[in-house]
Symmetry: none
Subunit: 217 residues, 4 copies
DNA sequence: AATGAATGAGAGTTCATTCAT
DNA sequence: AATGAATGAACTCTCATTCAT
């Protein structure tokens, strides 16, 4: 289990959950998805995992540690669940961007639990440093992978040449996160994907005119 | 006190808080901003408002009702706190869009409490219909006012003619919400505003080339 | 309620228990007498006082505070329960010493609860400063009142003139405390009182007679 | 391992601790000395002894049995730790009494752990017969050895002839125990030893001189 | 002989809520 | 309108003990 994008000293310290604690963490994950952290009760977690409450404390000394475990589990999901890759052997920037959208669709449409839990944890991370240490890297990793795609696209000439990958990736992540979080209807979310593409992609044929229009003095 | 954009039957039912209950709601608002709904305790609310617990329950039968009151209070803030209007007597669409950004800047930079509380309430609204009934109209109102601006801009020719105001407003609201929520750095948030403008605004003069690609019939 | 011999700043801070908290403290006192601090359960205290467990915590925030309350209650008992005074209008030193024994008999024979609880609290006071602050003054007060009696007796010529009241009072208190604590049989305890008197009291005028009385074959 | 003064059927049943259980008992002893029986946790004992909890229960079926083991260990200490004997080949009664004081000094000054643990066990022995069965004999043995010394001293003429060894030994043990337990300052404890000697020892030959020495102006 | 894993039965404490005044 | 007192229901966490290996 690794947090993608986290520094080694974090990943090295990650527990590899065995069967029992994994069952507990999954139970907690489901309960958070259903009722929020607010309604998370250790007894319910233990009951759903089919163990005694004392067993829960055997593996997770405190409720806080359990929630940290849920964060780690979520991170592992983000690392392992990905939409099937687009066919292209060597994906170009646009393919990669669309892969990003495909992943977003997967997480937000097919696995809405993950978004709910992520949202809860992001909110909690403001006050719980242990959770922040797991959740923040996820966010940074997401932004970074978008950033690389943008840089590639600019180099390829597929994306508008005036794009600043560090800032534009922030915009894209914000829009995707907002779309997942608000929550929008499915077709509104699709509109977000399309809008991003429209904004990012270099106008066709005669780029000169567009470049002239926007960026020339 | 009104929820902007809410149907009349909602607004008609809104309590006009008197001094005492208003103090309680403000105390609760502050505590939610500080520690989240998770750490909201009726005793703390009463203590901060300088009244007895029983007095709190005299005005708000249950904690739920108090939280609903916080939502209403938040709505009233969104209705009353606005960035100073741009000077134009009859603002054009771009001015109105920028006014939207100015409001966002105000809420998210100057009044981060409001965003925090809003975020908490949005999360809660998934499970608390009473809160949803207050929070959802806010969101819809926000989207609607953006939508109107977009429609105006398209009519004026200031915005790209292929814009679908209902969908594009969703995009913009999602991006703004994501920017407020993630949280981004200040300059990343500014990049979001700029990106939206870039995407929305019709390319200048010679649209032909770009228009041909995207918009021509 | 005062702790005899305690400095004013302690006595000034002493709570005057009202009916309900007094009932709780008495219940706790009885339970400590029966089963020791070790077996003291807040639930049992509440049950014996006939109130809900939450009511206990309304008056005593923590179990520690309740135990402190027991210590204060014990102190008040030592202050108010005394053996009936010997008849003498102006008691001489020997009368006062015997009054001390009478008190000891009362506490240790008639009110063995008090000794048990005192013993528990003395042991606890090693680790609980709040209890120490109540219990230590009791001990010091006890020693001091014996010390005064001894000084009076030495001045009166009733006690052996080579007595050092500060040290001898320590001896007496130690012996009385040991007798109460060990526990000894009733007649052994009486032997302690007699031994102290023998040791303390000045041999009668004509020492020869004393020597004769005591030591001659 | 024997309990000095205990009847044979007790001593015959005493376990001779092997290395592992002895380590456990010592760990428990130390923990009791540090935090009292109240804070004794089997897990801590096992941890300090460097073994698993289950191993502890392999040797001591219950916590009670472990505490009984601590009592036995304490008894063995009292049997084996003694102050270096006074030089006299055939000690007279006064020497033996002083040896008693020397032992008390050793236990109470140099080995305060032993007194603490003893005190805890004496308190517990009121409710735990198994502990009482170990602790009571210690007390009786102590009293008995003092009693013998007193009888010898009376026979020798070194101690006051009106002394009742059974009662006076109770007095002495009570005073020593009280001195150890209260706790007194070092010099107060010394005063106790001196006072006992003063009380016990026969006034020198010519009573008149003694009387003169002590009481004459 | 020794252990890691698991547990039942509480423990103290919290908290929204109620009630008599 | 306002409160001090009181409470039921839960909550997290603890701990001596057990059991399969």
């Amino acid at each position: 289990m690794t947090v993608p994008g986290a520094p080694d000293h974090v990943n090295d310290a990650l527990p590899t959950f065995e069967e029992r604690p994994l069952a507990l963490v999954r139970a907690a994950f489901d309960l958070v998805a259903e009722g929020g952290l607010e309604r998370l009760r250790t007894r319910d977690v233990a009951a759903r995992a089919g163990v005694n409450i004392a067993t829960l404390h055997y593996y997770f000394a405190t409720k806080e540690k359990l929630i940290e475990g849920v964060a780690l589990y979520l991170a592992s999901l983000f690392g392992s669940i990905r939409a099937p890759m687009v066919e292209a052997a060597e994906p170009n920037a646009l393919d990669r961007l669309r892969q990003e959208f495909a992943d977003a669709r997967l997480y937000f449409d097919a696995q809405p639990q993950m978004v709910t839990v992520m949202q809860e944890l992001v909110l909690r991370s403001r006050r719980d440093p242990a959770v922040a240490q797991v959740v923040d890297p996820l966010r940074r990793f997401w932004k970074l992978s978008v950033e690389e795609t943008l840089a590639l696209g600019v180099r390829e000439g597929a994306f508008r040449p005036d794009l600043s990958p560090p800032l534009a990736s922030g915009v894209i992540v914000a829009a995707l996160w907002g779309a997942a979080t608000l929550p929008l209807a499915h077709e509104e979310r699709e509109a977000v994907y399309r809008a991003i593409e429209q904004w990012i992609v270099a106008p066709p044929q005669s780029q000169s005119s567009m470049g002239a229009g926007h960026d020339a003095p």
